[in-house]
Subunit: 184 residues, 2 copies
DNA sequence: ACAGCCATGTAATCGGTTACATGATTGG
DNA sequence: CCAATCATGTAACCGATTACATGGCTGT
């Protein structure tokens, strides 16, 4: 059973994108990440091209033809075992890392807020609040505009709700600020 | 200006922990991550010991004495520039990566849910739902029990709300399932 | 005393980032 | 036609992971 090792999160996403969109060039994949709503993956060439190469050597991807634009690029598609590997990545059971509370750099910092001089705490929180509001507005616009795949839409809705939850939480922290300062 | 390069997320957290708890051994730091509510950092020895070493060479940490347990371990504390670097990490302005929507492997997968055979979709979502409920209960217990630093508490509250938001979102996805299946 | 855990590391590997190189394509 | 951008890569680096090695401490 070839290529049966587990997939990275990024590898799973790339397989999924190619499966959804049909045969793709590496660059088309890159663009998805470059335009992505979450900044977590840079979509750097140094990530994508070697990844495609890797998955090709594992026979999960296969070049299925030239792009035709004279740049020597090629279209890649999933093989049968690629489809299997993708479905396996997509389906339960999931690891703790998949299901657990995702990391949030703002949350980490709030945990250390007591180490900031009290006046700076409110400044921190207000700054975060404003940025969150801005991001939320952008997401709203995005949700209103695009008519994509219903599940992609639901995923975007997920980031919207996540961001909204973070926002109300920050408001809660602001309100708790005097009390927190007192009990230090 | 020595050691003025940016800190990793993990480096920032380690500095913060040592600042909060006072002089620490590397292993004490490891335990924090091993017991952490979010599984994102493993707290592996191979991450922590070299990190402490790195920050020491950058003069952000300094060994301030032996542990006294005869194992040759040492207690580390922040230097003056360590405190500066930490405050800089902790304060605005923040990068896009810090403020943006954090990654969520479940969310990624939901975006590809249309590629799963329809009966498997509900199974996926129910599994996630159950796991989230379980995790939520654990977090509740944790919030009820521990009387820690108020800001750490608020951070835990943040993960609670994040998890809760994910849960209600999954329920929303379940309800949207028939409609989504129809419009494929 | 000895088994098992605590604590401190090290080595190999791996996936992703930044930065660079190169040629094709396109717009003014 | 020439500059800017598109597209395809490659090289060096870097931080974190897993797995391993070693030795002190502790409970029975």
């Amino acid at each position: 059973m070839a290529g049966a090792e587990r997939l990275t999160e990024l590898e799973g996403c790339v397989l999924g994108l190619i499966r959804q969109r049909g045969p793709c060039t590496p660059y088309a994949i890159r663009r998805e990440f470059l335009a992505s709503l979450t900044p977590h993956w840079s979509g750097s060439a140094g990530a994508i091209y070697p990844l495609i190469e890797r998955l090709s050597r594992r026979r999960l991807l296969r070049a299925v033809g030239p792009t035709g634009d004279g740049r020597g690029g090629r279209l890649y598609a999933l093989t049968a075992s690629g489809r299997r590997a993708f479905l396996h990545w997509l389906s339960p059971p999931f690891s703790e890392l998949t299901l657990g509370v995702p990391p949030d750099p703002v949350r980490s910092r709030v945990g250390f807020l007591g180490l900031l001089p009290p006046p700076a705490r409110l400044a921190f929180l207000n700054e975060v609040l404003e940025q969150f509001r801005r991001a939320l507005a952008k997401l709203e616009a995005n949700l209103a505009r695009e008519a994509t795949d219903p599940f992609e839409r639901l995923a975007v809705r997920g980031s919207y709700l996540a961001l909204q939850a973070r926002l109300t939480w920050v408001q809660e922290v602001i309100e708790a600020l005097p009390k927190a300062a007192a009990c230090r």
